[in-house]
Symmetry: C2
Subunit: 680 residues, 2 copies
C-alpha cells in the first residue's frame, strides 16, 4: 500500500508515473505530525556535518524517527558506505566529485528512497528535486532525521500487507518500482566487455586497442570515445583530423563487432559559428541568470551555456543533436558532466581573481593562506553558482520559472530523458545504449548509470558491490563502475580482482583517466589470465542478461542483499560483502590486496563453483555456515543456490558470437533444477 | 650476520650506532653486482607512478630482485597499505599530507628497512637520507625494484644463521634493532588516556575538558596544547592572555594528575624582537639559500626560517628553547611540522601570483583551469623548494654544506634529537614525554611518533593496526594514531571501535582538527560505555607497559604479525587484521561500520576474553581454527595464548592510581601460567 502525502505545491519531477493504488493525502499540520514530519526543529547540537555546507535557513521540514539498536536502513541508491546506511549523514545533491571516500555525503545521483527495517518495515520516498539531508544515526546514533529544504514536496510511504518479512522487503521494492515505471533495457551487446580511456586520441588509437584485444583472445564488444573525439569539446562535433572518415570508421569497427560509444557533455561551448550554440541562443534554450542573460559556466571547452533540460522544447532540440552521430552509425552514448559539473562561473571567477590580488605581497599565515587555497577550490560546483541561474521548466500547468538549486537533482535526469526521447523519435526501431553520470529517481526509465569517476582503490571494489542492491532498489538496472578505477594508478592484482567482480555486473567497462597508468587488460604480465576471466564473463552473459531482463520485467532486483532473502538469519542480515545475483547464485568477491582467500557465509547449503576458465572448473557441495575459502588471484569462486541451476555458455569473442545452443547447466550433484533463459 | 656495503661517500645519518659484528665491504662494481645493485636501468615502461613526482635523472642506483608468487615483504615502518607491502610503490620522503589513502606513497616518516620472506629470509636497510623508491610489485607484479637517488649510501643486509623460520624473523629484527640502538622509553603516565584538540584556546577550555572526564569517571592523564597556546604560533612562547599564570596552571593541573603537553613547531617566526628568531639569525642557525640568505618558508605564523637541525650548535641552541616550558613544569612535548612542512616558499609564492595574473580575463578551459588549481596546490611541500636550501651539517669529519633534498628525511629526526639531548642536559633526572611527526630510523632513540594527521575514517582503524608491527621493526615503540581521527567528523560508533583498538596501543590519544565535530569521549550518547572501555585500558596498562618495557630492553617487537609466530600456517601467514600484542594476547579488533562481529583465525587453541568492564568479563576456551565472533559495539573481545597469562589490574582514574597489588591473572582454565610484571 502506498500513501502519498502532498506538502505545499510540489514541483513535478515525473519520478512517479504509475499512480495505480496510491492513496493521496494533502498534508496539513495534523497529517504532517502524524507521519513524523514537522517544521524543522532538528537537533543540530552536533554540527558540523560531514562534507555538507550548512545553512540553517534552508532546512524547512524534518522527518524524525528513533531507531532501535538493530534497525537497518537500506537505500539511497548511488552512495558511499554500506548496504546498511546507518552511521552517516548523506545529502541528496548530484555532485561531480571524484574522491569517493568515507567522508563524502553525495555522489553523482540523488536517490531519495530508503527502506527502514525495524519493528516496522516500510519504504520512504521523498520526491523533491532540491536538497534533502539524510542524517541516519550521525548526530545521534539511534535517530534518523531527514531534512527537506522546502515546504513543497511529496512524500510516499510504502507498506506491505504481506506477513513474511522476506516477502515484505521484495513487495515494498516492487510497489515502489512499479510506481516509478519500468527500467530502461540496454541492448544485449552492451553486456559484453567494453574498453574506455580518456586519452584515446584518434581512430588509430582505437584500432590498436581492438587489435590487441582480438589478438589476445580477450572478448570485447565496445570501445568508448571520451572528450577528445570532439572538436575542442563541442557537443555533436567530430574532430575530422582525428577521424577523417568517421562514418566509414564506425562501419569498419562494426564489421569487427565493435560498437563505438561517444561521450556527450551537458555544457555547450560558447563560440560564434558553432550551430548548436547559435541555435540555443536564438531559441532561448539555455539557462538564464536573474537578469535574463544566459548563465556562463566554465567546463572542458572553457565558457559554456547549460541547455535548459527542464524545458520540453529545449529537450527536443538537444535530443535532435544526437542525430549526427546516430546517422554515422553510432548506437551508444554516455551523458557526462550533467550534475551539471561546473569548474567555475564567469562571475565567481572574476571575484576570485580580485580577491587573490589582495593577498599579493602579504604575509600569508594560517588564515590567509588557507583562504587562498579555498578561493580556488571553492570555484568548482559552487552552491552559490547553482543559486544564480534559472530554468523555464515545463510543468503540467505550463511553463514555470525555477531557480536551479531547487531542481538541481533532475538536471542530468532530463538530459538523459532528452536523449532517450530523441532516440525513440529518430531511430524508433533501434535499441540505443544510453547511460548517464547524474541521475534522479525516474531517470532509470531512460538509461542506466555508471558510478562516475572512481579510483584505482581496493576499497572501490567493495563500494561497487555495496551499491549494486541500492541502485536496483531505485530502478537502476544497467549499472557498473569503471573497472580498475578511473583515477589513480592501477596494479595488476587490483585489476584482476576487480575483473572478477565486474564479470557479474551488466556494465563491464574498463575506463581510466588521462595521465594514469595504462590499464587495458593486455598491459600486464598475465594477459592470458585476463583472457580466461573475460571469457568466463561471456559464458555467463546468458545468465546475467536473463536475470537482468527478468528483474526489469518484474520490477525486481537482480542484486539482492542476503538480508532480504534470509531476514531471520543474523549473519545474513549483517553480510555486507557478499550477495545474491539473480535467482541462482551468490557472489563473494575478494577485495583485499594480497589476500589468498576470504571468509564466506552460506545461509543455506550451496554448491561452490571454482572456475579458472570456461572449461576449467570444479563444483563442491558446501554446508550452510561460515567458511574460509581459498581464491587464487586468477580464479573466481562463487556459489549456486540449492534447487537452482546456472547456465554456462561457450563464450565468444563478442556477444553475438555466444552460442546459447551449447549451454551447460551447473547445479548441485543430483539436482535436476532447471533454468529459464531469456535470449531472443 | 650483518653485512654493510658502502657506496661512494655516504652522508652520516647516525642511524647506526652499534657496529658490533658488522662486516663492512666497500662496494665497487663487482660487489654491487653481486648484491643485486646496479647503475640504474630500472624498467619504467609502466610509469606513471602513484603519487610520485618522477624525474628520471635523479635515480642512480637500483636494487632489483624477482619475487616468488608467495613471497612477503615486511617493513617500511610508518606507511600505507598492508603488513605485506607487496603491490604498490612507496617513496621514502617525509611528507606532510593528511590524506592517508591507498593512493599515497609516503607518510611522515622515512623508514628504509624491509624484511624479505621468500626462499631466503633477510633484512635490508638502506641508510640514505634523501629519496628512495620502493617499487614492490607495482611495475611488475613479481619484481621488487629499489631506486636510490644517489651514488653515496650504505646498504645493510641482515641474515640469520638460525634454522627455524620463526626464530629467523625475530633474530633478523633484533640484529637490526641492536645496530640502530635501544628505543626511547616514555614515562609511565604517558600510557594513560590523553585528550587533545586543535581548538582548545585557553586554560578554561582545558579545565572544562578535565572536569568532564573526571565527572564521568573516564580516566585521563594528559591534555594537549595545540598551536593556539603560543603567541601567534611562535615557538617557546605562551600567550599570556589565554594563560595568564601559566606555571600556576601547570601546577594546578598536575595536582589533578593531568600532564599538559604543548606542541613545538619546526619553523621559527620571522619577527623583529622575538628572541628565538633574533638569536637564530645572529648566530646563523637557520637554513640558507644558495646566496647565503636565510631561506623563507610559510607555515602557521606566515613567514618563518627553518632551524638547521643538522648542525650540532643549532641543535643545542634550539634544544635550550624548551627550557622555558620545562621550567614551568611541563614534562611532555610533541614536535610537529618537522618534515619540514611548508605551505609555500617566499620565492615560489611570488611566481605563483605572477602566473595567476596572466590567467585573468582569459577563457579558462581544460588546460588553463586545471593549471590554475595546480599552481595553488603545488605551493605546499614543493620538491623545488626542498632543493633550494642548505644545511651546514655536522659530520664526523667536520661541517659540511648539503642541499636539503639530499638529507630531507633526517630533518625531523634531528629536531627531536635536539629536544632529547636538551632534556638530558637540562632535566637529567626527569623522563620527558617526547614524540614527533617526521622521523627516520635512528630517531626512535630520542622519542616516539604518532602517525600524523589521519582522518575519522573506518579504514584508518585498520591502517593503525597494520602499521604497529612495521613501526616496531624500525625501533618505534612509543606509538599511536589520533584516536577517532584528526580530520573529518567522527561518529559515535567509529570512536568506540577505535577506542577498542587504541586501548592496546602505548599512545592512546584522542585528537581532532579545528572545525571538526567535538570528539571528547563525553560528547556522545553512551558516555558510560566509553568510561567502561577506558577503565579497561587502565586495567591493562600494567600489561601494556610491561610488554613495552620488555620489547624495548630486548630490542624486540611488541606487535607481532601472526606470520612471524606461525610462519608455516598459511592462514596465519596472510592474516592482516589481527596480531599478537606482547607474549600473552592476540587482538582482532572490529573495524567495519555496523558490524556486529568479525571473523578471527586462531593459529592455536586460545582463551577468548569478552570484556565489557573491568569487573564484567567472561573467558571461553576456543579451539584453533576459523571462528566468527560476535562483538557488540561496547565490548572488547581478545584472546589469551595457551600457556600464557594476562594481568588485569583494578583500573584507576590516572596511571599512578592503578593498584598493581590487586592484579587478577586471566588464563586458560586449569592453567598455572605466570606473568612477569615490570612496574617500578
Amino acid at each position: 500500500m502506498i500513501k502519498e502525502y502532498i506538502f505545499g505545491k510540489p514541483f513535478e519531477t515525473y519520478a512517479v508515473v504509475d499512480r495505480t493504488g496510491i492513496i493521496t493525502e494533502v498534508a496539513n499540520e495534523d497529517v504532517a505530525k502524524r507521519i513524523g514530519f514537522k517544521k524543522d526543529e532538528a537537533d543540530r547540537a552536533l554540527s558540523p556535518y560531514g562534507g555538507i555546507t550548512w545553512d540553517d535557513s534552508e532546512y524547512v521540514m524534518t522527518y524524525a524517527v528513533d531507531m532501535g539498536k538493530d534497525d537497518i536502513v537500506y537505500g539511497l541508491g548511488e552512495n558511499i558506505r554500506g548496504i546498511n546506511k546507518r552511521g552517516w549523514i548523506y545529502e541528496s545533491k548530484c555532485s561531480d566529485d571524484p574522491i569517493h571516500d568515507e567522508f563524502k555525503s553525495s555522489l553523482y545521483g540523488a536517490h531519495n528512497f530508503i527502506m527502514m527495517s525495524g519493528e516496522k518495515v516500510y519504504g520512504l520516498f521523498i520526491d523533491y528535486p532540491g536538497r534533502v539531508i539524510w542524517d541516519i544515526g550521525y548526530s545521534h546514533i539511534n535517530k534518523m532525521q531527514v531534512l527537506v529544504c522546502s515546504e513543497n514536496f511529496k512524500l510516499y510511504v510504502i507498506n506491505s500487507e504481506v506477513a513474511d518479512k522476506k516477502e515484505q522487503y521484495r513487495d515494498i521494492i516492487k510497489q515502489f518500482r512499479k510506481m516509478i515505471g519500468q527500467s530502461y533495457v540496454a541492448p544485449r551487446w552492451a553486456f559484453g566487455f567494453q574498453q574506455s580511456r580518456w586519452g584515446y586520441q584518434n581512430q588509430g588509437d582505437i584500432e590498436a586497442v581492438v587489435e590487441n584485444y582480438r589478438k589476445n583472445n580477450i572478448p570485447i564488444d565496445a570501445v568508448y570515445m571520451d572528450i577528445d573525439y570532439m572538436e575542442r569539446f563541442k557537443d555533436f562535433t567530430i574532430d575530422s583530423e582525428k577521424f577523417p572518415a568517421f562514418e566509414k570508421f564506425v562501419s569498419k569497427m562494426k564489421k569487427q563487432h565493435i560498437h563505438l560509444v561517444p561521450i556527450i557533455d551537458a555544457g555547450v561551448k560558447i563560440e560564434e559559428g558553432y550551430d548548436t550554440y547559435e541555435e540555443g541562443v536564438k531559441k532561448n534554450y539555455f539557462c538564464k541568470e536573474e537578469d535574463g542573460n544566459n548563465f556562463v559556466a566554465g567546463v572542458w571547452p572553457g565558457r559554456v551555456h547549460f541547455p535548459d533540460f527542464l524545458n520540453a522544447q529545449a529537450r527536443d532540440w538537444f535530443g535532435n543533436g544526437y542525430k549526427v552521430l546516430l546517422d554515422a552509425g553510432i548506437d551508444g552514448f554516455w551523458n557526462d558532466m550533467n550534475e551539471p559539473a561546473l569548474f567555475y562561473s564567469e562571475k565567481h571567477l572574476k571575484e576570485a581573481f580580485d580577491e587573490i590580488e589582495t593577498y599579493k605581497d602579504k604575509n600569508l599565515d594560517i588564515d590567509t593562506f588557507f583562504r587562498l587555497g579555498n578561493i580556488v577550490r571553492g570555484l568548482g560546483n559552487n552552491l552559490g553558482d547553482y543559486k544564480s541561474f534559472y530554468h523555464r521548466a515545463t510543468q503540467p500547468e505550463g511553463e514555470m520559472l525555477v531557480r536551479h538549486d531547487h531542481v538541481h537533482n533532475i538536471y542530468g535526469y532530463n538530459m538523459t530523458r532528452a536523449a532517450s526521447d530523441a532516440f525513440k523519435r529518430l531511430v524508433p526501431h533501434k535499441n540505443i545504449l544510453m547511460f548517464s553520470r547524474a541521475s534522479y529517481i525516474g531517470m532509470h526509465r531512460y538509461g542506466g548509470i555508471w558510478t562516475g569517476d572512481n579510483y584505482s582503490w581496493w576499497s572501490h571494489i567493495l563500494l561497487l558491490l555495496k551499491m549494486l542492491p541500492s541502485l536496483n532498489m531505485c530502478g537502476f538496472m544497467y549499472i557498473g563502475a569503471d573497472m580498475g578505477g578511473f583515477g589513480g594508478n592501477v596494479t595488476e592484482d587490483l585489476l584482476m580482482r576487480w575483473t572478477e567482480l565486474s564479470m557479474f555486473v551488466p556494465l563491464m567497462r574498463n575506463h581510466a583517466a588521462a595521465g594514469t597508468r595504462n590499464q587495458e587488460l593486455y598491459r600486464f604480465t598475465d594477459t592470458e589470465a585476463f583472457a580466461r576471466l573475460v571469457n568466463i564473463r561471456y559464458a555467463l552473459i546468458p545468465y546475467i542478461y536473463s536475470e537482468y531482463m527478468k528483474a526489469v520485467e518484474n520490477n525486481d532486483m537482480m542484486y539482492i542483499p542476503l538480508s532480504f532473502e534470509y531476514p531471520c538469519d543474523k549473519y545474513a542480515v549483517n553480510a555486507e560483502d557478499q550477495m545474491l545475483v539473480g535467482e541462482s547464485i551468490m557472489i563473494a568477491p575478494v577485495y583485499t590486496q594480497n589476500a589468498t582467500g576470504r571468509y564466506v557465509y552460506l545461509p543455506e547449503n550451496m554448491t561452490m563453483v571454482r572456475i579458472r576458465a570456461v572449461n576449467d572448473y570444479e563444483l563442491t557441495e558446501c554446508k550452510a555456515g561460515h567458511h574460509y575459502v581459498d581464491v587464487a588471484l586468477d580464479e573466481v569462486v562463487f556459489f549456486i543456490r540449492e534447487g537452482h541451476a546456472l547456465p554456462l555458455a561457450g563464450s565468444g569473442q563478442y556477444v553475438d558470437d555466444i552460442d546459447v545452443g551449447e549451454v551447460t547447466l551447473l547445479r548441485a550433484e543430483g539436482s535436476n533444477a532447471d533454468y529459464e533463459l531469456i535470449w531472443d
